[in-house]
Symmetry: C2
Subunit: 323 residues, 2 copies
């Protein structure tokens, strides 16, 4: 489908170059390439027209790391600390009080409800432009406690190659994440080549206002949508309006997205990234507090889904640092 | 920006052909072409990178006709009549009773609340696939009472050319309509060349279910979002995630979309289609029950918005029938 590539990109791509150089030559890589070739080869019984080549990717644990906790949770904790002087009441109010004492375990003991409460308190009542700037500044100035890398450097090189490969083959790539849609949009285009209009995520409601003659969008302290588990096919329906033919995730939060994707007629690809590499990244699955993967491991192979073994399938985890 | 065109389209476009042949040579056409040229010419002080070339279009009264009432309202009335045997209670219950008696004026007397009630009753509890089929069948089998055309033939040829022109110049074109997002998606790709993922509209909530082993998306009888007036910039924010540089509408329901678009920095284009052609289409504005246009006429020109005079600016309204 080379005719659909922008001219400039076409000239930049050497013919027959390996589109996935950071993937080892394992059956996983072979399955990906075979799928892409059969859906893009005109005349193939499995040929899919470009408009239907929709690929969706989870973000946390699928495109970037998610340990020791979701990076957006770290952002929320950092914001709570930064905003604490304006909120003296937080010293007495959970889960804020625990965050301010540095006791993140207690802060998270309230589960999803506690996390949503903290997300609202730190995300709402900002204009879209203010929020974008705060997140961009945080990303530029904060480093991961273990790797010392910026969070948006802890992306998986093999997945960056997969995104680019699919796009070069006429796919439209989307992020479909439980994370915040506006948070993701701050870095998705630069980091993944995924433009804001191709990001689906959890959201707060928003209001349009004209403030001193200047129109603004203000994030409201009211939950709009949780893009996780059974919410993912719904988010895909509402935002994209057609069923993907390729979906990649890494946790049981992605189960329904893969189920919905692979239940469609014709060729389909479901992928789960299994975190097996304690040395180069992290190793976790069934018992992890983030990225819990039980049902996907139990049922995925029987459903024809490809389980990526990070340790065996990936030559490289994070991109090589620029010289 | 010809290098960004798909190869095949590039070969099909004669150089220097008029991209807007159904527009008369008026200042309106000149303003459109000047805007597009200045934002797409590299080196121009007003140059805009392709990723930021977002153009949004209202649908009812902007891309297709909306008289004697919104076509989706006609769909709703037709569905109420078709579903009436399953709902004997509708004979006594407004606004359904009035619809069944053919008294649409009384049915609509309840305003937006009545319309939403009817939309829910006719749109909800269908799977996404069932809904799509019902709408497609209706579009294929129903004709407009005055023109005898199928509803999706009552689209404006000059606007189809404008959509294609913008896309050929590297714009991404979106529909941002008060109409139902799933309703629009049934015909937007074939009719306008706008894929489902570039349609923003009003929506019901939806649920993901596995029914007899088959995953489905079911439209819920609960309002999710009204994409009208101040809702339009919000819908744009949630779906697209960046501010358009071009917006076209025709009613005060589009005011905030144009306000938000044209308040951005750099070159911006706001367009209102003014229905001035009683002979070839319909003539209405301030006192119309659909497409009411008051504030746009009063304030638009002072805000630098272009008011399209259908009668003077358009050589043709609907596409010429195929021979």
């Amino acid at each position: 489908m080379k005719v659909l590539l922008p001219f400039t990109l076409l000239l930049a791509l050497p013919l027959h170059a390996d589109p996935l150089p950071s993937w080892n030559k394992t059956p996983t890589k072979q399955a990906i390439v075979e799928f892409v070739e059969k859906v893009t080869t005109p005349g193939s019984p499995d040929y899919v027209v470009p408009a239907e080549r929709i690929a969706t990717f989870d973000n946390d644990g699928c495109l970037w790391s998610e340990q020791p906790m979701y990076f957006q949770a770290i952002y929320i904790f950092d914001r709570i600390k930064a905003l604490a002087p304006e909120h003296p009441e937080w010293k007495e109010e959970e889960p804020f009080a625990s965050v301010l004492k540095g006791d993140l375990k207690s802060a998270l003991a309230g589960g999803k409800a506690a996390l949503i409460k903290m997300a609202m308190a730190t995300h709402a009542n900002l204009t879209s432009e203010e929020f974008e700037k705060v997140v961009a500044d945080w990303l530029a100035s904060t480093k991961h406690p273990k790797t010392g890398l910026h969070y948006n450097e802890m992306v998986y090189q093999p997945m960056l190659e997969l995104l680019a490969y699919l796009r070069a083959e006429g796919f439209k790539t989307f992020i479909v994440s439980g994370g915040g849609i506006d948070f993701l949009r701050v870095f998705a285009e630069d980091t993944y080549g995924v433009p804001p209009e191709q990001v689906v995520g959890s959201s707060l409601k928003a209001q349009y206002e004209v403030r001193d003659g200047k129109p603004v969008i203000v994030k409201s302290p009211e939950l709009d949508f949780i893009d996780d588990k059974a919410g993912k096919p719904v988010g895909i329906h509402q935002h994209i309006g057609r069923r993907p033919i390729f979906a990649a995730g890494n946790s049981d939060g992605d189960f329904q997205m893969l189920e919905w994707t692979t239940a469609g007629e014709g060729p389909r690809f479901g992928m789960l990234v299994h975190h097996t590499d304690a040395e180069r990244e992290f190793a976790y699955d069934r018992d992890s507090h983030v990225g819990t993967l039980v049902r996907g491991l139990d049922e995925g192979p029987g459903r024809g889904w490809t389980i990526v073994d990070m340790k065996a399938d990936w030559k490289l985890v994070y991109p090589e640092p620029a010289e």
